[in-house]
Structure formats: structure tokens, C-alpha cells
Amino acid sequence: MSLNGSTSNGLQRLTAQLAPLLIVCALVFALPVLLNNDFLLNKVARYLVLGILTISLGLSWGFGGILNLGQAMSFGLGSYAMAMALKLKTIPVHTGASGLPDFMVWNNVQALPWFWVPFRSLPFAIAAGMIVPALVAAALGWFMFRGRVTGVYVSIITLATMVVINLVIIDQQSYTGGFNGITDLAQLEIFGVAFDAYGRATYYLVAGCMMLSLLVAFAFTKSRAGLIVQAIRDHESRVRYFGYDVALYQIFVFALSAAIAGLAGMLYTVVMEFASPTFLGVQLSLSVVVWCAVGGRQSLVGSFLGAVLVAGMQGALSESAAFLETWTLVMGALFVLVVLFLPKGLAGLAQVVWRWIVQRRQAAGGVAQGVGQTEGST
């Protein structure tokens, strides 16, 4: 509250905001110690990946105000990049060094298509898994944001683009595996470490990437550029009259969000051991929006937890006999309730509760110790 303490105030606030993020990361890393079940660990890793995907949507929707209904497009592209690399790793074993992936053989493809060739290199595939979605998003964003398309039209365009790419992948069976996706993959191996989908290494890989994504996204939102992006969300045209090229900021946050979604997609392939057109399907893409809204789209940790909790619940409900048929109804009701009563999601609820606790404690402390207890109250 002191006037000249802005430096320490700023640092204090930053630490306070970083704390929940680090606590969540610590819990995620500690889980394998408590949970000695490889099958469950793989399941949790899957939810963590979906959490990363939801963080990426929170970045563009909650902070940039860009409701991307096609967030799964970036996810799917990343997933296919990884699957292509891992598929090519199986060739020497299955068909000899000059062979082709099995589904290409079934489809009478004679030579490896040009766009498959560079995926023989795993570093290229990993880079492509993030750069390709980012470039696609940047190109799409260039047309949308230069043309000052906003609001619901952005949602429609992103959704439609995703559906188009989804259909192209299904249609081009001889090059993409079509409806079946790309299955029967080799194991990912980096620096001699093999990432078995049911191994701890994979879990820690996912956890590490999740922490990295959270920190990168957090760093961006705390930068000046992140502040300007939030200003654009609040009042787009106003920002222009301060000399900022609004479209460039929107393209940047859109592409950054796509790159993180691409990373999540790559991890999903490792955890699930295949890539499928459903990874860039409408159902997943809209689910991400629900998770993000439930968790609180203006909070990165909230978005992440929203995905883990709701996706986890989805998994549990759809497997239980009682809710086998009705779990989508339960999810729909949850979404409606959150939108109606918790516009800032669970993160908003947590904030309200936290403020209430602090105020209660201050009221109690104020009586006991008089004034001077207000330092750091905000």
C-alpha cells in the first residue's frame, strides 16, 4: 500500500501469482511417488496433456479475447508431426530400410511423399510440431486480424478451418492414414531415454513440458506485450490510438497459443501411441472450451486444473455403469452452471474465497494488533 514501495510491491505480487502455479507443478511432479500404478499414471499423463492444450486456449481466449473454437487443429497438427516421425522409425524393422509405412503399402504408394521425407529427423519433427501449427495460425490470423474480424466470426472461421483440415486428412488416406490415423508407432527415444507410454519417463516428460508451458505462458502474460494483449481484449480499437499495431499482437498471441497446443499434440501421440483425425475433431475442440471456462479462462493454472478435473471426471463418468449414457448431460449441466454462476470459473471462485479468508484474518489481526497490519493486503 505504501506509495514508494512499487518495486517490492511488484515483486511481491509476482511471487504471489507464481505461487499457485509452482504448487500445482510440485503436486504433478510428486504424484508418481504416491501413485504406484502405471496404468493410472498413463491416464493422468493424458489429462495433463489435455491440460496443456487448455492452457494454450486460455492464453488466446482468456488473455487475448480470441475464442478459438479450432484449438484442436494445432493440437492435431502437432500430434501428426510426432506420429509421422515415430512411424518412419518403424520402417527399417518392418519393411527394410527403403520401405514405406505400412498404410502406404496398402494404398499402393510407390515412394515416400516429399513432405514425409524430413520427418526422418526427429529434431525436425519436434520443431515442426510446434512451428507448423504456429505458422498456420499466423497465416490464418494475418487474414482475420488484418481484416479486423472479431468475436463470433473468429470462432466460426477457426472452427471451419479445423473441419477442413480434418476432412483433408481423412480424405488423403494414402498419405495420412485417413480415418484410421497413424498407428503402430515406434517408441520415442531422446538421448537414449525411451519413452514408453506407460513408463515414468513419459509421465515426467509430460509434467516437464506442462511446467514449461505454464511458465512460458505466465511470462508472456506478465510482459508488456501480454499487458497490451489484455488491453486489446478489453477495448481493441482504443489500443490502436496509442500507436500499437493491434493485428500483430493478436497474430503473436494466436501463434504462441498454437505452438503450445502443438507441443501438447506431440505429447498426446507419445502417451496414446497413435495419431487420429479425432485429435483435431470438433468434439475435442469444444470440450477444451468447456474445460477452460470451468477452470477459469483468465487464469492459466485455472485453465489447466479445469481440464484435468473435468476431463478426469468425464473419464470416470463415462466408465461408470450409472452414467454410461448420461455423462454428456452431466458435463453440459456443469458448463451451464459455471457460465451462469461462475463467469470466472473455479479460479474466480478460489480468488473470492482467498480474499474472504485474508479479510477475515485481517479483521481479527486488526483488533489484536491495531493498525500497521494492512501492508501487502492487496
Binding site: 506509495l3 512499487s6 518495486t7 510491491n9 511488484g10 515483486l11 509476482l14 511470462a219 508472456f220 506478465k222 510482459s223 508488456r224 506485450a225 499487458l227 497490451i228 489484455q230 488491453a231 481484449r233 478489453d234 477495448h235 480499437s237 482504443r238 489500443v239 490502436r240 490510438y241 496509442f242 500507436g243 500499437y244 499495431d245 493491434v246 500483430l248 499482437y249 503473436f252 492487496t378
Partner: protein, 250 residues
């Protein structure tokens, strides 16, 4: 003498309606120019043209030697033009301090802004600005919680933060109390000289308190220019305001 801002034969029409029709206006550097006129005279549209919100269908707008009429809004802002809107336009979900921080647009590129301000170098500056517009207590509150008058002040503070050479103010005292209006007049007197200002106002008391030269618009054209006394005595101006009790009651 060359003008700092020069509107030359500017026209604009909305669906065939000529909102601005051959408007000429020249403003000297450091001048505080008041722009008045009856409702629908085209005052706000004139500001919209200068800051690029509306593209003129004819004529030129020159500011400090730069032709503005074909530039994008952000390019015009970078050329040194700031704008306050009639409906206070601030970032409601950001705090007062963050609003001022965004307005302090020293660097405008995305990559140039990918930096943290952990030492909070801009903090002292922001606090000074908040003090100037009387919002020190509200620095950490979201702008959505401000009263109407405070929101007006915040946007004025944001324009001071932007430090534009030419500042366009559209009804800055609308919705303010008499005391707030007086404080605004004092602030404008301080800005005069360092910045060139164009102020659209209805409050004649305020206009007389701050303005050197008053420009009167009517039907999208410049009707008269001069001091308050000259303008009030001008027969065309009297006719334009006929039935509304003269310009002091407009």
C-alpha cells in the same frame, strides 16, 4: 507561418450524407484550439478524420509535414496524435496503473515489448501520472470500478502518459462536477504550449476558461474563428444557433 495541423478542403460522407463538406482548419504548434458548434455540426467527425477513425473522401490532413489521410490509426498515433473519446474509453478489466502503463507507448513493436518490468521502472512515472489526475488511491483497482468522472480523468491521464504532440479531446468534461471541470481546465492550461490541443466542448464557461482561439463549425463547414467575444458577436454564428438561445446555452 506554417500550421502544425492543416486540414485542407476535407470532405466525408456517410451513405450520401455529407457530414463534413470542404472543411478547412489550421492550428499552430502549442495552441489550444476549442471546436464548438451545434449538434450534428461535424465536430466529432472532424476529430475522427484527424486520428484516422474515419477516412476522408476528399482533401488532405497534414500534421507536422506528414500526410495523415491515408495512414492507419496506429501509424497516425505514432506520428504523434492522441485522442480522447466522447464516451470514456479505457480498459475496464485492467487496473488504473495498467491502463496508464499501456498508454505510455514508448515502444510499440511486439518483440520490443516481450520484456518484464520487474524493477518496475515505469512505476514511478505511473504514480506521478495517477497523482496528476487524482487517482493515486485507485492505482490497483480495475478501471471498471471507477465513477464516470474518474473514468474521464483516467483517459485524460492516459493521453498525458502517451505524451502525444497533438491531443484531440472530445467533450473531456462531460459528466463532471463543476469542481472536476475546474481542475480539468487547470490541467489543460498546463498542457498548452507543450502540446497542441484541439478540444470539442459544449460548456462555454469551460471554453472561455481555456481557449485562445475558438473555431465554430456548422453543417460540416468552418463557420467562424476568433476569440470568444468575436465569435459570439459573429452574425452567422448567431444564426446557426438560432432558437437554441445563443452559443452560451448550446
Amino acid at each position: 507561418m506554417t500550421a502544425h495541423l492543416d486540414l485542407n478542403d476535407v470532405s466525408v460522407s456517410f451513405n450520401g450524407f455529407k457530414a463534413i463538406n470542404g472543411l478547412n482548419m489550421r492550428v499552430r504548434k502549442g495552441e489550444l484550439r476549442c471546436l464548438i458548434g451545434p449538434n450534428g455540426a461535424g465536430k466529432t467527425t472532424a476529430l475522427d478524420i484527424i486520428c484516422g477513425k474515419v477516412k476522408p473522401s476528399g482533401g488532405t490532413v497534414t500534421f507536422a509535414g506528414t500526410a495523415l489521410q491515408d495512414l492507419e490509426e496506429y501509424e497516425i498515433a505514432r506520428a504523434g496524435v492522441g485522442r480522447k473519446f466522447q464516451v470514456p474509453s479505457v480498459f475496464r478489466e485492467l487496473t488504473v496503473g495498467e491502463n496508464l502503463e499501456v498508454a505510455r507507448a514508448r515502444r510499440t513493436s511486439v518483440v520490443g515489448n516481450l520484456r518484464w518490468d520487474v524493477r518496475n521502472a515505469g512505476g514511478a512515472h505511473v504514480e506521478r501520472l495517477a497523482e496528476l489526475v487524482g487517482l493515486t488511491e485507485q492505482l490497483d483497482r480495475p478501471a471498471a470500478y471507477l465513477s464516470h468522472g474518474q473514468t474521464q480523468w483516467l483517459e485524460i491521464g492516459m493521453l498525458v502518459a502517451q505524451d502525444a504532440e497533438l491531443i484531440l479531446m472530445d467533450e473531456p468534461t462531460a459528466g463532471m462536477t463543476a469542481q472536476e471541470t475546474r481542475k480539468t481546465a487547470e490541467l489543460f492550461a498546463r498542457l498548452k504550449g507543450r502540446h497542441t490541443l484541439i478540444v470539442v466542448e459544449h460548456d462555454m464557461g469551460f471554453v472561455k476558461a481555456i481557449g485562445d482561439v475558438i473555431s465554430v463549425m456548422h453543417m460540416g463547414q468552418m463557420l467562424a474563428e476568433g476569440t470568444a467575444a468575436e465569435v459570439e458577436a459573429h452574425p452567422e454564428v448567431r444564426r446557426a444557433y438560432l432558437g437554441s438561445g445563443g452559443i452560451s446555452h448550446a
